[in-house]
Subunit: 352 residues, 2 copies
């Protein structure tokens, strides 16, 4: 399907990865060190490069650096293979222009997912020039200019994601603004000891990833789908152009930012001083607010305990214990994994 260049010095891993890639019909070139890798990249011009970080002669960073300099190879997507211990250098790597990273040990599916996502990115890459109507307001005031954002959305590529797929990772360079056509997305940050904390939950018609586009150099959180999700990818450039041109768009995003900020501050206060019970109650309530289907009194949350814990910001076991407490107090009910909120009102009372 695609030409993949694999740079890896460890023989076991190299053969293993090469096999996986061959199995799904990719054409694989292998290099056992950085120098070889660079040469091969220039000669074969692969569609994507997967490279180890720690290697003799030139390490992964070096390879990336060299290839990014040469216009002929600078656009090839680059994925790092790295072990946990080197994770701290990853931000550095992403800044150099890597597109993704995979932490060893990894599953074949992780690798293939990452590969697929990055290849997809590129296929979208040849950024369509914006419909000229959108750029020229005076021309078509009635249709396009009424909602330039809508216009842009209609003109952008969309992409389908399965469950638990990663949209972008912490440390990567933001290249799109994402709009959720359908599905759910959460963004989270990882703490050093492996615990995650969910920063935001998004649903249909939400924009994801605007903050780093407006300010940051790289993503500060990871975005992952929670179920099958269809996203519209709005290239950074187009978004910037839009913001530049339409004050109302700017205003809209300023509002989003401000609201988000105020919400975060509230969360911060809670994270610092709330008891476990309150944290859990707060997580349940906010989930309800985000995803509840209209007016229904009793809503149901279907989510793994792990995920819930990373929303509440607590250990999984502690979360479970609190949930059982809540159950005994008839605030919630649990049937086959799902959590039914029975007494939303009392739950909210807990938060005062």
């Amino acid at each position: 399907m695609a030409k993949v260049l694999l740079i890896e010095d460890d023989e076991d891993i190299r053969l293993n990865v090469a096999e996986i890639l061959t199995l799904v019909n990719h054409e694989v070139f292998v290099a056992t060190n950085g120098r070889e890798g660079v040469d091969l990249a220039k000669k074969e011009h692969p569609d994507i490069i997967v490279s180890d970080v720690m290697m003799p002669l030139i390490d992964g960073f070096g390879v990336l650096h060299v290839l990014k300099k040469d216009p002929a190879t600078s656009t090839i997507p680059f994925i790092f293979l790295t072990s946990k211990s080197e994770a701290c250098n990853l931000r550095e790597a992403m800044r150099l222009g890597a597109n993704d990273y995979i932490i060893k040990p990894f599953e074949g599916s992780d690798l293939l997912n990452a590969l697929e996502t990055r290849l997809k990115d590129v296929s979208v890459q040849p950024v369509k020039e914006l419909n000229p109507n959108t750029a020229d307001i005076s021309h078509s005031l009635d249709k396009a200019a009424t909602d330039p954002m809508q216009e842009l959305l209609n003109n952008c590529e969309s992409a389908e994601y399965g469950k638990k797929q990663i949209i972008y990772k912490e440390g990567s360079t933001p290249r799109y603004l994402y709009f959720i056509k359908s599905g759910k997305v959460r963004t989270y940050k990882s703490h050093e000891d492996g615990k995650d904390l969910v920063m935001n939950l998004y649903g249909k018609n939400d924009f994801v990833g605007y903050a780093p586009l407006l300010e940051g150099v790289f993503q500060v959180e990871t975005a992952e789908t929670m179920e099958d999700t269809e996203l519209i990818l709005i290239p950074k450039k187009d978004f910037e152009k839009l913001v530049e041109q339409y004050p109302e768009v700017t205003k809209k995003f300023m509002g989003l930012l401000a609201r988000n900020l105020l919400e975060k501050e509230e969360q911060l206060l809670g994270a610092a001083y709330n008891t476990l019970r309150k944290k859990v109650a707060s997580a349940l309530v906010s989930l309800g607010r985000k995803y509840k289907i209209e007016q229904e009194q009793n809503y149901i949350i279907i989510m793994s305990r792990d995920e819930l814990a990373s929303i509440a910001g607590t250990a999984t076991e502690s979360l479970i214990r609190t949930l059982t407490d809540f159950k005994h107090e008839r605030l919630i009910d649990m049937k086959n994994g799902g959590i039914v909120i029975i007494d939303q009102h009392k739950l909210q009372q807990l938060l005062r």
Copy 2:
């Protein structure tokens, strides 16, 4: 100095407060219930009203409601006296248009401070029309338009605040954007059990209070000076006009919002999973970043332990213990209350 209407049913408090007010030369009118208060307000048209919340006949909310309806009395600043237990209704009150509140039991100085601040507000109130040059870009491109924000700052009233004075309180209606000419300000939120958590630290040339102006209906945090501070008060209307007119101003604040948001997210992760040591180290480091005088290696922090604790988000005693630990580890030194950061580098290492 000013005409003050005091509405309070409890005789002890009434007499006590009246005495304090008389002592500082205010002309005091007293009412012992809401009905009387309303009448007196309409008749005497005081400069400011101080009213209890819980009262027979009409309660404080009622009084406020009635007076806000009548244009003749609607602009009179209104301060509530309230006990802790009623605190939950305060947001409601502020939304109705109260300007401040004081929680019983209170010190005479609290009362006088609040009074003074609110009286000052009004004196500034007759909003100066913006220099027409600022509104009309084409007119004076070179000077005014180069930095419309600067222009506005030059045209706005400024105010001096002493140490530990409150600029605005959580729940009040935002009416100004503040710019710090000199001094330091912190904003914090209060948790129900009385513990505070510092949200932001501001120094010279910082803007304070922009988020609620852009989005919220009322202040979500309290702003307090940390030392003698000179502020420029930019009326909400003028700020909005500016944002409306100058994309570059909008952009600037959008940047501020976005940066602030990313920072908050980082803090959130820390608040959820960091150990005490890390929280304290993080507080010290960020204080250094904000207030350090240029390149100096060893900076010094002079701040009460209480305040520090509310930055780190921990109990005062826990903070102190951690500080002593740090001292033994030669990361910091403490001399007469001040904290000297000796080994900033190692302190930052703690955060990884």
